[in-house]
Symmetry: C2
Subunit: 439 residues, 2 copies
């Protein structure tokens, strides 16, 4: 009852039961070693969205390192009878030895874009389904929402502050995904530690309420954190708080934060008062239930920075990217590749190995061009699939803090290439069409 | 670049930056040791919901054990300058020594219900805000949705199968929360290991596609997993698949799964065919984008079990419970308790220490009765606040597999006491009103 934190850092049980029973049956049938290609894609974007942003790729590579069935995992599977002894033996030796290619993290995507492909034996690939989808579905949902928010914010920085509104480990991934998609910082300390992200924050209403007066609270904060701190104005009365703040910190006060009320009107009033007191460099941060629409509505208000919580960590109405992991090709008994796909009409998918290129008119993207299995040799455009794991060797450049920095650059460049319509927040069609070419 | 999995199992950095800067300022001002009560509550239920279900409490207790600022956490905070040296010294010695009371996990709740209260020094309580809210907000969102689904399913079991549609660690918490709220099982193996949950699953479309024919795939599955396995019928043509399935497994076939199309019509057709072939005990499981409404719509269809994915792990439209953690009382300089609350009109809250009781008419709940600070001594009803941590001592009975079992019982009993209107899926008011009594 007492040891709930598994002592093993293995990620191998972030897996659905059926992956292991399929493995068992395929091992017994002699089909487990057939070379296979699994592909991750989304059938559609969330309702009305113009584009999505791939995130989670680096985390998959980090977790793939620890995808090991150690004694602890094997003991659990044995004692619960999930699979038979030969399957346990196979799992105990598991090391992914295949090749994973995919859209670089931070890249934009559209319906049908082949975001990730896993080429390996069926056995090695089938057990990664849940781990891969969990990371991509959550992180991509957050990055896709965050990109719309940072786009609406323009040059004003957005801070991710939603840790409290999602699972504690998801919060770390959300901070990472938001920063990839243009956010400047996060409140989440673990994300700061793991990925070298800038963390921010000064005080909450509880700090003001702890003290006998707002004046005592502000004085305590300025004494300890310095005049360049950000004071929270709306615990009692904003006007009074503003007067007190400037009396205590003077015009060198770093910033003020507004967390309730009509933020646009208040920002104008607060800016006027700050300027009248000579506090022209004191910044205004707003933080109350913001999303991309609220940020856009504040474009004309004198706001310097946005703090975004709930809506970014829950994907602003689309809390999962609804990506799927499908077997699209496998070798037959005689060794030739066979494209495969499910026939049910309501979930049509495109079988087969794919090549993906983004086509341009000048510097503006015009089409997501997908060749099944390949585009013509002279096809013009930017290749979208990059090597992430080659024959089991993980490319570390996509992981950790470096991976985040690369993904930030990729995001900025890819969003910059999209046609203007991509930046409309209203519901509409994907910014560019996805076109299939059969080679 | 290579060591991304923190070697420390500490949960201490699942924390927002501002909690530590508040701590620093309060330590410097001499106010950090003031006794304080923080309270978790929701201002409202998700739109149209009749009740919510508390979950995450046990996980908070599990994580509280590991909430330690070890050398690794201190080094990060020092190197990034988050807080000053005296604050780091204080954190290095951190052990929660206060008292936490709350609604038992699995309990139902309403707007304003004081779900958790943390009584300690301000310093000890303020740093737990994000950890507590993350666990409660996510798990409660899932349990609240799951309870509506298991309610709509009645005696038919629901299986949680949504791991792939949420963050990989959130998936474990989601499985746990769903089972607390009436689900029978989960696909998630890590949840099985950590909490002793029943895990289930047999095969996906990829298993059929791996093989040269559907017949080969079914034969491989039945050979390895036995005749009581569940065969997936809709990779190609359901009718043909059903014939093949019965030819291979005979009428002893355990079950079939339908994952697309009009599930109600198909279930009727498949049931008829199964019965005609003598497979009267072969169960039908359906699994395509189900939520509480789809489950309710299938009540008249011959379905034996539901597999629910995306909608349960994303809270069926409410991916966070939007619970908040607020300072409601603290001692003043002279040692007397002072009720505190933020004055901003748009976020009215009820300050003060609270007592919570559920009132009944016979066996049916009629009111959530909240005394500030206490109800009259002769007030009738069931006390809702239980001791979870007393003077730093965690009650292990609320953690691990035992905690889940207790929470399942609590959920079933509490839901059973609600008036009938609680089980309507249509939008409406909370099933019982929340009434405040000032003592």
């Amino acid at each position: 009852m007492s040891d709930l934190t598994p002592s093993s850092p293995s990620t191998a049980l972030f897996t659905d039961h059926y992956e292991l029973t399929m493995l068992q049956a395929a091992l017994a049938a002699g089909t487990a070693q057939r070379r296979s290609v699994f592909e991750v894609f989304g059938r559609r974007l969330p309702h009305g969205r113009r584009y999505g942003v791939v995130a989670g790729t680096g985390r998959i590579l980090e977790m793939l390192r620890d995808f090991r069935f150690t004694g602890e995992e094997i003991d659990f599977l044995r004692s619960t009878g999930v699979v038979d002894a030969p399957t346990l033996d196979w799992l105990a030796d598991y090391r992914f030895s295949g090749t994973i290619r995919g859209y670089a993290e931070g890249e934009v995507y559209f319906p049908g874009s082949p975001l990730l492909s896993v080429e390996s034996s069926f056995a090695e690939g089938v057990v990664l389904e849940t781990l891969i989808l969990s990371a991509l579905n959550y992180d991509t949902a957050v990055a896709s929402a965050a990109s719309r928010m940072s786009g609406a914010a323009g040059d004003r920085p957005c801070a991710e502050m939603g840790s409290r509104r999602t699972h504690e480990a998801a919060a770390v991934a959300a901070a990472r995904a938001a920063v990839i998609a243009g956010f400047a910082s996060t409140s989440n300390l673990e994300a700061g530690r793991r990925y070298g992200l800038r963390t921010i924050g000064t005080s909450a209403h509880s700090f003001t309420l702890l003290h006998d007066t707002e004046r005592q609270a502000f004085a305590a904060q300025v004494d300890s954190l310095g005049k360049d701190t950000i004071l929270l104005l709306d615990t009692y009365d904003v006007d009074t708080a503003l007067d007190t703040a400037i009396e205590i910190a003077g015009p060198e006060l770093g910033g003020v934060r507004l967390d309730s009320g009509d933020l646009g009107i208040q920002a104008h009033e607060v800016r006027e008062k700050l300027d009248a007191r000579g506090a022209r460099n004191t910044k205004i941060t707003v933080t109350s239930d913001l999303d991309e629409y609220a940020i856009a509505a504040l474009q004309a208000a004198p706001v310097d920075a946005y703090g975004v919580g709930t809506r970014v960590v829950t994907g602003s109405g689309a809390p999962t990217a609804s990506l799927v992991y499908k077997l699209v090709a496998r070798q037959g008994a005689e060794g030739t590749w066979v494209s495969v796909e499910k026939a049910s009409k309501s979930k049509a998918s495109h079988g087969g190995i794919k090549q993906a290129v983004r086509s341009y008119d000048g510097s503006i993207a015009t089409e997501e061009s997908i060749g099944v299995p390949a585009l013509p040799a002279d096809f013009d455009g930017r290749a979208l699939l990059v090597d992430l794991v080659v024959d089991g060797e993980i490319d570390d450049a996509f992981t950790g803090a470096e991976g985040v920095r690369r993904a930030q650059v990729r995001h900025a460049e890819s969003v910059g290439e999209l046609p203007r319509s991509a930046h409309r927040l209203q519901d509409g069609e994907p910014a560019i069409p996805t076109v299939y070419y059969s080679g």
